[in-house]
Symmetry: C2
Subunit: 344 residues, 2 copies
């Protein structure tokens, strides 16, 4: 069977109506609201075909139809019209650039809040990824007699800092020497490449100050793993209650548990680093905990280097066209702002 022009029109009408109402859509509704000069009976026939083709489904015999994931996929790929921002949305997005802070974490947190506020979905924003970023400089700064700050400057301007306990009999000159060594060996490497193997000077030093050097190296190599845990910002987790499909307490709980599971979120968002927006609809998602949801993912960058991901999660009947356009604009705005701040 072919997906003719009229079938497409009807499918589009069903999808749009269902997205905005959340109720199964009947033939009469379509004939009235989206009247295209054909009677409900004709529409019924077409809908029956669309069901056979896997684009529509019926919750029960005497109900209207709802779109399948396949239908949403077709919709976002072919049917959906891009939508402009409302003045209010544009205004909120502009707020990203009006921050008092220059700390990337705080900017990102605010992005999460703005995203969830203007879309009414749940937002997820990942902090800058350290796994692709190159180390530029490593510096040990004495804080007091017991601690030094391990400071890492990276190609994305991000600073990773950790407190390191220093042994007793150690002076500032020694710290500087180690700093230079570290910078020498690991400059232009990633955190994953940090390794003692070919760093002969460091190996010697490891003999003398075993615990100290080990702590430093651990801090460097662990930074990716640690970031993973802590650098996920959520916004509007309670927004999910706005949707009738989540009035069921069990579904709502499962959703919230999912949002607390940082590992799944991290893995999900790490898979994609396209420049443009990526949409994952319902069962297209490999995590079964999320097969009732759709995710719209975007990225933010410094210059042309993708730095991190963000996304909006909601029911599969998400307002894709709104969400996609907002995600694009937010991505651009954040990237521009960050580039302005951090690009050399």
């Amino acid at each position: 069977m072919q997906l003719g022009r009229r079938k497409l029109q009807i499918l589009q009408a069903v999808i749009q109506d269902y997205i905005s109402s959340g109720e199964p859509v009947g033939s009469r509704t379509i004939a009235k609201k989206y009247g295209m000069g054909i009677s409900p009976a004709t529409i019924r026939n077409e809908m029956s075909d669309l069901e056979e083709m896997g684009y529509l489904q019926q919750p029960h015999t005497s109900a209207g139809r709802i779109p399948s994931d396949k239908a949403y996929r077709l919709y976002v790929d072919k049917l959906m019209e891009t939508r402009n921002l409302t003045p209010d949305e544009a205004q909120r997005i502009r707020e990203i650039c009006n921050q008092k802070t220059t700390e990337i974490e705080e900017i990102i947190e605010q992005v999460a809040n703005i995203l969830s506020d203007i879309t009414n979905y749940t937002s997820v924003v990942l902090g800058p990824r350290l796994n692709k970023v190159l180390i530029r400089r490593i510096e040990l700064i004495a804080i007091d007699r017991q601690y030094a700050l391990l400071l890492v400057v990276t190609s994305a301007g991000i600073i990773k800092d950790t407190l390191i306990r220093i042994p007793d009999n150690i002076d500032a000159g020694y710290l500087e020497r180690i700093s230079n060594m570290l910078t020498k060996y690991y400059r232009d490497k990633t955190f994953a490449d940090v390794n003692i193997k070919h760093a002969t000077d460091l190996q010697k030093e490891l003999m003398r100050q075993k615990e100290f050097i080990r702590n430093i190296l651990d801090a460097l190599t662990n930074s990716i793993a640690n970031k993973r845990q802590s650098d996920i910002y959520l916004g509007g987790t309670a927004n999910i209650f706005n949707f009738p499909e989540y009035q069921d307490i069990i579904k709502a709980r499962d959703f919230l548990n999912l949002m607390e599971n940082k590992d799944i979120l991290y893995n999900l968002f790490s898979q994609y680093e396209e420049d443009d927006v990526v949409i994952v609809i319902g069962t297209e998602n490999e995590y079964n905990e999320m097969q009732d949801c759709s995710v719209v993912m975007g990225t933010y960058s410094i210059g042309d280097k993708v730095l991190g991901s963000m996304g909006l999660i909601g029911p599969t009947r998400m307002e894709y066209s709104k969400v996609v356009s907002i995600m694009r604009h937010v991505g651009e705005s954040v990237s521009n702002y960050l580039t302005l701040l951090f690009k050399e």
Copy 2:
């Protein structure tokens, strides 16, 4: 009317039963389960008295009784027996000290997770407060040609760092001079005391490098306000669904909205900084959003200096004795561990 021994026993039985079941408690249940050699009819009479005195209430005429906030208050003050930790709980608490990290934020985040895990309530942990802590040293460290790191070492060993943009024509010597100036004026002051008024050298410098100096001072004074926003760690927000009183979707949503409102949480937890555990029951709470909940609050310290607050939030029929003992032990463990790490 007097609260005799028998009335107390009955009240305690009602409270304990209601805490564990969540169902209104009837006279027969008490006679059977907590049999104290008196008949249901006698218990009914006593319960009727207890209701008159404001300790019990009936959801409706033909239901059992549930304890009032006043009853819980009496219970936690007088009736409750302290309970020992189970081996499993003790084990989980010990995990706090087995961390790889020395970053206080990560430790605190894990504390939030452990608290909610072992209690099954929602945990809130506030990061270290900056408003009581004294500045020890301020240091500007050049990162590259555009940015310097503003580093503040405080009496609680906490380091507050911010990126500051530096003007073009500036050398390392200048940064050092400013650092010394800042340390000179603000050493042993709090962040709230940072002010340009009596800092004559700085005023002069402000003329020359207006934006730069202003940025530094802003970063210092804003640090408290900024911390407020970002330094609240939540654990187990979805735990609230475990309780039948939150099966109502509206209640659950209100609770979760509350947990997203960092301002309320911050204010609530800032009020108390007792050494011992503080319990706020239902309507004792000044925020009406929380009058269905109880909060058990504790603190953690470095040495004998209280550093931050933490708490567990749940329905008023909370397992107070369990929660209080866990809160005490966690407080001790965190404090010991932090003291070990940071105390000079």
